[in-house]
């Protein structure tokens, strides 16, 4: 397939077409018409449509959005909150920034529809502190939406009132994790806590709270427009809809692309990204970001499809694809990954705080070829322990790339074990 056939513009259809600062432009392209329709429906019917669409969260964990909405809808407690997670911080990801900077009203329309479906009266737009331009654009869009009566009291004369406040973070990757995000919103340092209970039952100020990713909210108006059944026809059985893909690393045309789910990684790299510069060879590709799995070139035929990925014990996460050519040292890359998580660890639990440090020490031993056979076993035990016993997703996912290198590039480790033979040499 060539690049035109591969691109499927739905969430990005307004990019470059509208002025993101202009609500009129958005409305001209059909914007807010789904909200106008939704507000006359019963909340349960909206949620049902989302359930039929089988939309799964785009923040990384792929949790079914309809089920999350239903849980909040049915939860006891007042008030209820809704939060848009725009804390994007996973290395390799920039899709949410593009969505905010190019079409902010699409996100806002999605949030309002969800809020209406569960009679939620207050929402937060949680933007990472570094995204200054995006925050300004969203702030402006919220003001415009308020002025037009899409936000505020008695929205479109429906009797329903709802508003959204912007909250900017202060630089901590872990705050993208739900409980850490909630702690930050409440003015505490963003340390994670055990789940359950989940935020849908016990979230902000212990009230039912719906938290979704920016891209997830963007899908909502499109689902209502197409109907859940039609939407479900896009993509694959286990992964419906389109996906924004952030392509970066050693690649000719890095950037943001929207493709139908089910597209192969190879097509995205070769056709959309035009391959690796200077005709070098691909050594390794990392999916989803620093916490995601790595694959060798021989596996690039794998598709963006949950079921297919699960067979290999992996997922495509939030949709980043980081391409690395044959000049990289794989262990050096692993070290960068683990350094990131060690730096971003909130320090609350031992396996993540201390375990990642130990992985770094072990990686150094392999890098300078002083590692022993037993270090390999130690590394494997550490990975297992950290993934199983860390409190939150940061620690649980941090060793993924090391684990996958042990699976697909094991010789990178075994070749660097110090033997008496190599000592003589």
């Amino acid at each position: 397939m060539n690049s035109n056939e591969l691109t499927r513009k739905m969430l990005t259809k307004n990019f470059g077409v509208i002025n993101p600062e202009s609500i009129d432009d958005y409305i001209r392209e059909g914007g807010y018409s789904e909200l106008e329709k939704a507000i006359k429906l019963d909340g349960k019917d909206i949620i049902n449509e989302i359930k039929i669409s089988d939309l799964k969260g785009r923040g990384g964990a792929a949790f079914p959005t309809g089920l999350k909405m239903e849980a909040v809808n049915q939860a006891d407690g007042f008030p209820k909150y809704i939060i848009c997670n725009a804390d994007e911080g996973e290395p390799g990801n920039f899709k949410d920034r593009y969505l905010m900077e190019n079409d902010p009203h699409q996100i806002i329309e999605g949030i309002i529809i969800c809020a209406f479906a569960s009679k939620i009266n207050y929402g937060y737009f949680f933007i990472r502190g570094e995204y200054i331009k995006a925050a300004k654009i969203v702030e402006n869009a919220l003001e415009q939406a308020r002025a037009r009566g899409y936000l505020g009291d008695n929205i479109l004369d429906s009797g329903f009132s709802f508003d959204i406040e912007i909250y900017t973070g202060a630089g901590a990757y872990v705050c993208g994790e739900e409980f850490s995000l909630l702690a930050t919103l409440e003015g505490r340092s963003g340390r994670a806590t055990y789940k359950p209970p989940f935020p849908t039952i016990c979230g902000l100020y212990n009230k039912p709270t719906q938290i979704n990713n920016v891209e997830t909210f963007c899908n909502i108006p499109h689902i209502l427009k197409l109907g859940g059944k039609e939407f479900k026809k896009i993509g694959t059985v286990s992964s419906t809809g389109t996906k924004l893909v952030c392509l970066s690393g050693n690649i000719r045309r890095p950037g943001l692309y929207e493709v139908e789910l089910g597209t192969t990684i190879k097509d995205i790299i070769d056709e959309l990204g035009m391959g690796v510069p200077r005709n070098r060879k691909i050594r390794m590709v990392q999916l989803g970001g620093a916490s995601g799995p790595v694959i060798p070139e021989s596996m690039l035929q794998i598709r963006l499809d949950s079921d297919e990925m699960r067979k290999h014990d992996m997922s495509f996460g939030s949709g980043a694809i980081i391409v690395m050519d044959d000049r990289i040292d794989i262990l050096d890359i692993l070290k960068r990954n683990i350094q990131f998580f060690h730096h971003e660890s909130c320090g609350k639990c031992t396996p993540c705080r201390e375990g990642l440090l130990q992985i770094l020490i072990l990686l150094d031993r392999f890098i300078d070829e002083s590692a022993k056979e037993s270090d390999l076993q130690l590394l494997e035990i550490l990975i297992e322990t950290i993934s199983l016993t860390s409190i939150c997703g940061l620690g649980q996912a941090a060793p993924t790339s090391v684990k996958k290198v042990l699976e697909y590039f094991r010789e990178e480790f075994t070749d660097r074990i110090h033997t008496t033979a190599s000592a003589v040499k």
Binding site: G92, R188, C346
Partner: protein, 155 residues
């Protein structure tokens, strides 16, 4: 701006604490929060000093150490790293005459590593204050730093 003014504007509830700390810090000359600042925040808001200190030390955009007027944050995550961010750091260190984490003697620049800045399609990337700079080369760095020096001289 004074701390009390910022709090009058933003409110004194815990949920407004982080943004007020940030706003105040960014208005100071040396981009950081002193012990006295934190104490004043505690007195003004009634939030315990220990909690405010823990917040101030947790978030990377907040600092309790004196920094330069312009903070240069260089992204060091993998997409930038495989696009030679190492060379960028070298060039910056050479040009500024300092090492990573340090502040220039004239207190104009502080050089810091940063996690992914969400611009990996323009790797390698750095941020100075509110401005992002991508597709960096040695030449670009020289001209960017010069422009900040000029801007400072004009002020």
């Amino acid at each position: 701006m004074k701390i009390s003014e910022i709090l009058d504007k933003n409110g004194r509830t815990p949920d407004k604490l982080i943004s007020s700390l940030l706003e105040y810090q960014n208005s100071t000359l040396c981009n950081y929060l002193t012990e006295d600042d934190l104490r004043e925040f505690a007195e003004e808001t009634g939030i315990p000093l220990s909690r405010i200190s823990s917040v101030a030390s947790f978030y990377s955009l907040l600092s309790t150490e004196s920094r330069g007027k312009y903070i240069i944050q260089v992204c060091y995550d993998v997409p930038c790293y495989v696009n030679n961010s190492v060379n960028i750091v070298e060039e910056l260190e050479k040009n500024l005459g300092i090492k990573m984490g340090q502040t220039t003697e004239d207190e104009l620049f502080t050089l810091e590593f940063s996690s992914c800045l969400g611009c990996c399609d323009k790797a390698p990337v750095m941020q100075i204050g509110e401005n992002l700079y991508g597709n960096l080369t040695r030449d670009k760095i020289i001209s960017i730093l010069d422009s900040y020096r000029r801007k400072n001289n004009e002020q």
